[in-house]
Structure formats: structure tokens, C-alpha cells
């Protein structure tokens, strides 16, 4: 491992934080056109024999633009439907205001195809479209089949079916942990229950609407998600799985997860599942906030597999107090574009963060993933271990930021990042930024890039594995940093996913 105390500031770091200031809106002009005017205008054109169809279409586009903007009325409507307390309504409106002022980030993969003019279609998808199984793309259906997901579950995962048995499982888990004093509930109910004040105190304090445009959007239109509170000293020995909550309408798109683990307690929270979630509204802007109190430990595991049309612009953040630890385990699959850099703020002496991730970018995917660590106290330590796999023209960018503040003496950070390229048309970039403000720190970074050797493939084939299986096995092995950290059934699912992604990779 290359170890060198880095003193100079690397500029790339500034790119990792969304450049919010001084940017122009990218051609987004949500000007309000009076509906009446459009209609009147249209009428005058009706008698005009020279009117071209093109003109008419232009008018129609304007008509949609009126409907497309996200207005306070729409946000108020959402708030009303959700039965928000007053403060939440105000919070949403304030976030909306910020959202409308902020530019779209322009430092990562292009999200130009995301129709920001018509953001409301992402926020309030047409439910008729959602309700039709025949609208679900074939590749998603085939994947469900291959993963062996039961019919009832498939329709639910595709967002087109009724809720299924998992609701029952969820309730039993909820009761089991409640006996330990743990609060585990859907986010909407948390706003009205016994812990409403606590939720108010912590909600979007770690990820604030001002962080970036999609955090602001999230603040305005969030829906669904989970709230977890673990009291001091409680060791939750079964992992809590948000999977059971993903079926609520609108959840899995702007869901909010708030986890507070009190002093000396332990929690393992698992988000997502291997089945691709199909959503006609292909924007995901969720938020995860984790508060790790003194000497507490939280493990947050995710296997995400978004449908290949999804823009995954998710924000995750944890703040860790003295002696506490956050462990992120993350498998990122699917999506068209991802921006994902879970952040750990080490805020008390001896706090620790570990990020273990794997990202798989296949055809047509541009995945920008990594992690952010802020060492904000002495004796803190962090370890980032990321593997990325690029195939069939897929683009992987590893982007990380490690900041060691001036007062974070005697802190340690190690970053390891390995890329596997499966062909010559794929791409893998590494942008590790380190901003070390003290000489009294131990920082290491290692990066490597490789490909699967023909000899390895022949070796495995000589033992009876097909070329496909041989490659899949090697790739699964490469991703074992994540799979060995996951509960067995999730590890198996992840390996199945890798196998599915690898099928057809020959030639």
C-alpha cells in the first residue's frame, strides 16, 4: 500500500460537492403560460388554413409546460394527502423554493435526458400507466423470471400490483423489535407517533435541502420510507429490512430513511432487494440519514438494482459520535445514471467509518459512485474498499472525498479501489480526492485496474464451467468484498444478479 501524508489540497474535491453557486439553470424555464391564453390562441388558429401541424405541436408542448412545473399548490396537495403536520408542510414549501433556485449538477454523468421541464410527471406519475402489467418492459419481466420471484411479488415489485405477504412479515418484525424498545415504522406514521418530536428534530438536518437540487426536491416531495430508533444499549440482533416497505405507492422513489441509534446500541439495516424495481417515473431521489450516537454501531447494507432507465440521484449520510462506527455495505446495480456517494461524518474522537462497495456498469449505464468521509475529530479512522466492474460499454467513475480536518489529529484513512474491465469498449475512471489539513494523519490510497485473463477462463473451463459461468464466477469472486459482508441470502442474490448481468457477455 502506498502511504504518504498528503498535505496539498487537491482541487477535484470541490467537484464532489455539487457546485451550487453561480450556475445558470440549464435551459429550464418554467415560465407560466396562462392556460386560457393558449386556448384562445389555438382557437384563432383553427380557421387558419396555413397552420402547420408543427405549430400545433408547439402549442401542445407549451400546454404541458404549464402542467409540468412543480408548484406550491402541487406540494401542498402532496402534503395534504400525506396528512403532514404543519411544520412539514412549511418544510416542503421551503424546500420547493430552494429546488426552484438551484441548478442541475453539471459535474457528473449527463442527466440531460431527465425531463426537468416536466418534473411533475416524476413526482406524480400517471397511475393508469403504472397499473398495467403489460407496460412493464420485457427485460424486467424476464429478470423476475430468472431470479425466481413469485408472481404476486413480481407485480408488486413492478409497481403494478397490490401489496403482498411482505406486509405481514413487516408487522411481525416490527413487533419483535418493539419488544426490545425499538421503534421501526413507516415514515408517515412516525410524524404522528410518540416520537414525532424526535423526528422533527432530526429530519433533514444531516442532509439539508440546500445541499443540492435533488436534496431540495426530496425535501419538497418525499414520500414513504422508514424511521428507526434504537434506544441506548440495545443490540438489535436481527437485521431490519426496508424491502418490506418498498411497496407503498411512491416509496422507492423519494423515500426518506431516518435512523437514530442511541448510545452503545447496535443496528443492521438492509435496504433494497435484487429484483429490479420498475417505475415509469424513472427518477429516484431518496435520502438516508443515520445518526450514530456515542459508542453505537450501525451497519447499513444495500443491494440496489434499478431498472435500466432509472436516474438514481440518491443521498446518504451518517454522522458518528465519539467511539461510534458506521459500516456501509453497498452493491449498486442497474440504473441508467447513478450519483451515489454515501457520506460519513466522524464527529467524535475514535469514531470509525467503513465503506465497502461494488458497482456494476453494463451497456448504456453511467454510474458515478464512491464515498465521502469527513474526519472531524481526533483519532478517527476510515476505510473505503470499492470494486467496480465495467462491461459492454458501461462507464464507472469512482469518486471519493476524504477530508481530514486540522483538529482531527492522529486520524487514519485507507482507500482501496479496484476496477475490472470486461472488454475494450467499457470505461473506468478513478477520481479520489483527499484534503488533509494536518500532518498528524496516516493516509493511504491504492488503485488498480485489471481484466480477466484468458488463462483464468481456460482454467475454470477445464473444470467443466462454461465460458459464461467461468466469467461470472471470476466477477462474483472479484465482488466478494461486498458479498462476504452480506447475510447469506443477500450474497446469493447478488451473485445471481452478477450472473444475469454477465449472460450474453461473450463475444
Amino acid at each position: 500500500m502506498v502511504k504518504e501524508p498528503v498535505e496539498k489540497r487537491i482541487d477535484i474535491n470541490s467537484e464532489i460537492h455539487a457546485k451550487n453557486d453561480g450556475q445558470k439553470h440549464k435551459g429550464i424555464d418554467l415560465k407560466t403560460v396562462n392556460l386560457k391564453e393558449v386556448n384562445t390562441k389555438e382557437k384563432t388558429y383553427v380557421d387558419d388554413i396555413d397552420r402547420s401541424i408543427y405549430d400545433f405541436r408547439f402549442e401542445e408542448k407549451d400546454f404541458f409546460r404549464v402542467e409540468g412545473g412543480l408548484t406550491p399548490e402541487i406540494v401542498k396537495q402532496i402534503s395534504k394527502e400525506k396528512n403532514d403536520p404543519e411544520w412539514m408542510k412549511e418544510f416542503r414549501l421551503k424546500s420547493l423554493n430552494i429546488y426552484n433556485k438551484m441548478p442541475v449538477p453539471d459535474w457528473g454523468p449527463s442527466i440531460d435526458e431527465l425531463n426537468m421541464d416536466n418534473i411533475v410527471t416524476y413526482v406524480r406519475p400517471n397511475t393508469d400507466m403504472k397499473g398495467d402489467w403489460s407496460e412493464v418492459p420485457d427485460d424486467i419481466k424476464i429478470t423476475f423470471e430468472r431470479l425466481g420471484i413469485p408472481e404476486a411479488e413480481r407485480t408488486s415489485l413492478a409497481g403494478v400490483g397490490a401489496q403482498f405477504d411482505s406486509e405481514l412479515v413487516y408487522h411481525s418484525v416490527k413487533e419483535e423489535v418493539a419488544a426490545m424498545g425499538v421503534i421501526y415504522t413507516d415514515f408517515e406514521s412516525s410524524l404522528h407517533g410518540k416520537y414525532a418530536d424526535m423526528v422533527k428534530k432530526y429530519f433533514m438536518k444531516l442532509i439539508t435541502p440546500g445541499d443540492h437540487k435533488f436534496a431540495a426536491l426530496h425535501g419538497a416531495v418525499w414520500s414513504g420510507g422508514s424511521f428507526v430508533y434504537v434506544p441506548p444499549g440495545v443490540n438489535v440482533d436481527i437485521p431490519l429490512q426496508s424491502y418490506f416497505r418498498l411497496n407503498a405507492p411512491g416509496a422507492g422513489q423519494f423515500e426518506h430513511t431516518l435512523i437514530i441509534v442511541d448510545e452503545g446500541a447496535y443496528l443492521h439495516f438492509i435496504e433494497g432487494c435484487s429484483a429490479p424495481k420498475y417505475n415509469v417515473a424513472n427518477l429516484h431521489a431518496g435520502a438516508v440519514e443515520i445518526f450514530v450516537k456515542k459508542n453505537a454501531r450501525v451497519r447499513y447494507s444495500t443491494i440496489e438494482n434499478w431498472s435500466k432507465n432509472m436516474y438514481n440521484l440518491n443521498t446518504k449520510r451518517a454522522i458518528v459520535e465519539e467511539g461510534g462506527a458506521i459500516e456501509w455495505v453497498s452493491g449498486s446495480f442497474g440504473s441508467k445514471v447513478s450519483y451515489l456517494y454515501p457520506m460519513s461524518i466522524l464527529n467524535g474522537s475514535g469514531a470509525k467509518a467503513e465503506f465497502t462497495g461494488v458497482t456494476f456498469a453494463g451497456e448504456g449505464q453511467n454510474l458515478d459512485t464512491g464515498a465521502k468521509i469527513l474526519h472531524n475529530a481526533p483519532n478517527t479512522s476510515s476505510f473505503i474498499n470499492i470494486r467496480s466492474i465495467s462491461k459492454s460499454g458501461g462507464i464507472n467513475t469512482y469518486r471519493s472525498s476524504v477530508v481530514i480536518a486540522k483538529h482531527a489529529k492522529n486520524s487514519k484513512s485507507a482507500v482501496s479501489c479496484q476496477s475490472l474491465m470486461l472488454d475494450n469498449i467499457s470505461r473506468s475512471d478513478t477520481i479520489p480526492a483527499m484534503d488533509i489539513r494536518t500532518k498528524d494523519a496516516d493516509v493511504g490510497h491504492e488503485a488498480s485496474i485489471g481484466r480477466i485473463s484468458d488463462d483464468s477462463i481456460f482454467y475454470l473451463m477445464s473444470r467443466g464451467l462454461s465460458e459464461e459461468d467461468a466469467k461470472a464466477l471470476i466477477v462474483s469472486g472479484f465482488a466478494d468484498n461486498v458479498s462476504k459482508e452480506l447475510p447469506l441470502e443477500y450474497a446469493v442474490e447478488m451473485n445471481n444478479l452478477i450472473r444475469l448481468e454477465m449472460i450474453g457477455s461473450i463475444g
Binding site: 485473463s453 484468458d454 488463462d455 483464468s456 481456460f458 482454467y459 475454470l460 473451463m461 477445464s462 473444470r463 467443466g464 464451467l465 462454461s466 465460458e467 459461468d469 467461468a470 464466477l473 471470476i474 462474483s476 469472486g477 472479484f478 465482488a479 466478494d480 468484498n481 458479498s483
Partner: protein
């Protein structure tokens, strides 16, 4: 029964001709040895029989159980019962030795292997090779010493029980004790699994405890002599110089 037959096989790698007009015949249950100096093309022969795509068979036929397999992929050949132990086994991080062997076994047999039964067999086999049980859970060949890698190949041989095993320099670089253990494993395969062997070696140490039926001498990509086991003694005494002088 005739198991493997090569008829006038030429092999090239990239544009270079390595093997010339190789013919040999191995019956089921026999043990054949291919000896020859370094660089004679012995390993190439093993890889060509296994179907390594790097090596192109440009002439002749490779017949296994009477059927030509020139165009079969390596995994098809493995499923048909051919095994090649590698001179330099590859390291595969993240895949444990036992999981790998189980996967391979399932691919070859087409049947699911029951875990408990499999685990017992793994431990018994590791025992034969005097390998600790922890090897089962170690990543395939990763960080293994030269000797451990060779043992890992024999371990896989005993677990997969192929019909024909080609051992490519299974004893090279091993100390005396390790050679004895590897030989023991090979004997186990031959005697208890009704094995057929093609042993590629440039030394004779591994052959001491085995009954050898046929010895082929390969020099400069050609088989220049074929005889019974007595040839081994001769080579031990004289080396390959006699053949080199003629070549």
C-alpha cells in the same frame, strides 16, 4: 477400451508450429508418461487435448471415446471426463476451493451435490493430501505456495474423478515429502477411481510409486520413442541426450 487417440496432430500457437504429427493411443486404465527435455512441447500437448483456445490444432484428429473432439470447448471436454492438472494453476480471488469444486462437480454431473456429504468428502480428501481443513475455505490457489497449488490440483482431481487425467508437471518444484504426497494422491485416483493417466514430466520422481504402462519421449515437438516402463530407467541413467543428438 480405447479412450484417447491422437492421429497425426499438428499444433501451433500464434504462428509458431509447436507439435508435429503426434500420434498416440491410450486405453482405459492405462498409465502413460510423456517425458522430454524442457521446451519439447509436452505441456502444449496437454493443453491441446484439453482444448486451450490459445493452441490451434492445424492437422490431425483428437479422438476421445471414439469421437473427434477437435472443435469441442474445454468445458465440454471436462464434462466428457477429461481433466488437466495445470503446471501453473491460476489464482481466483473470492472463490473458495470447496465452493469451486462443488460448482465444477455440479456442472460436470449436472446434479446438485448435497452439502453435508460433500463437506465430508472434502475433508477426507484434504486428509489424503495432508492439507489442513482450512484449505477448503481459502480462495482458490490465492496465496498458495507452489507445493500447495500442486496439491490443490490433485485435490480437485480426486474430488472430480475424471475418466482421463492429464497431469502436467504435477511434481515440479516440490520437495521430497510433497512429491510423495502427490504421488499418493495420484495412486489413489488410479487404483480407487479406475483412473487413466497421461503424466507429463521431465523428471521421474513422481513415477516411482506408479505402475507405468507406456512411456513416450518427446523432443522438439515430436514423439521420438515409445516403449514400456523400462525406458524410465534408461532416461534416469542417460538423460535425453541420445534423442537430442538425433534430432
Amino acid at each position: 477400451m480405447e479412450l484417447l487417440k491422437l492421429e497425426g496432430v499438428d499444433v501451433k500457437i500464434e504462428e509458431k508450429q509447436i507439435l508435429h504429427d503426434i500420434s498416440l493411443k491410450i486405453n482405459k486404465g492405462e498409465t502413460h508418461v510423456i517425458m522430454g527435455p524442457n521446451g519439447a512441447g509436452k505441456s502444449t500437448l496437454g493443453h491441446a487435448i484439453m482444448g486451450n483456445p490459445k493452441f490451434e490444432v492445424t492437422a490431425g484428429r483428437i479422438l476421445y471415446k471414439g469421437e473427434e473432439i477437435n472443435d469441442e470447448s474445454p468445458d465440454k471436454r471436462a464434462k466428457a471426463g477429461i481433466y488437466l492438472s495445470f503446471q501453473n494453476p491460476l489464482e481466483v480471488p473470492g472463490v473458495s476451493l470447496s465452493n469451486f469444486v462443488r460448482t465444477a462437480g455440479e456442472q460436470i454431473s449436472g446434479e446438485r451435490i448435497k452439502f453435508m456429504q460433500f463437506r465430508r468428502k472434502v475433508e477426507e480428501t484434504l486428509d489424503i493430501l495432508q492439507m489442513g481443513k482450512e484449505y477448503a475455505d481459502r480462495d482458490l490457489n490465492v496465496g498458495f505456495s507452489g507445493g500447495e497449488k500442486k496439491k490443490s490440483e490433485i485435490f480437485q482431481l480426486l474430488m472430480l474423478k475424471p475418466t482421463l487425467a492429464i497431469l502436467d508437471e504435477a511434481d515440479s518444484g516440490l520437495d521430497v515429502d510433497a512429491v510423495r504426497i502427490v504421488s499418493e494422491g495420484v495412486r489413489e485416483y488410479k487404483e480407487n477411481m479406475d483412473g487413466t493417466l497421461l503424466i507429463i514430466t521431465h523428471s521421474t520422481r513422481i513415477l516411482q510409486s506408479l505402475k507405468v504402462d507406456v512411456v513416450h519421449i518427446m523432443v522438439n515437438g515430436r514423439i521420438v520413442d515409445t516403449s514400456d516402463a523400462s525406458l524410465i530407467e534408461k532416461i534416469n541413467a542417460e538423460g535425453f541426450e541420445r534423442y537430442l543428438a538425433n534430432a
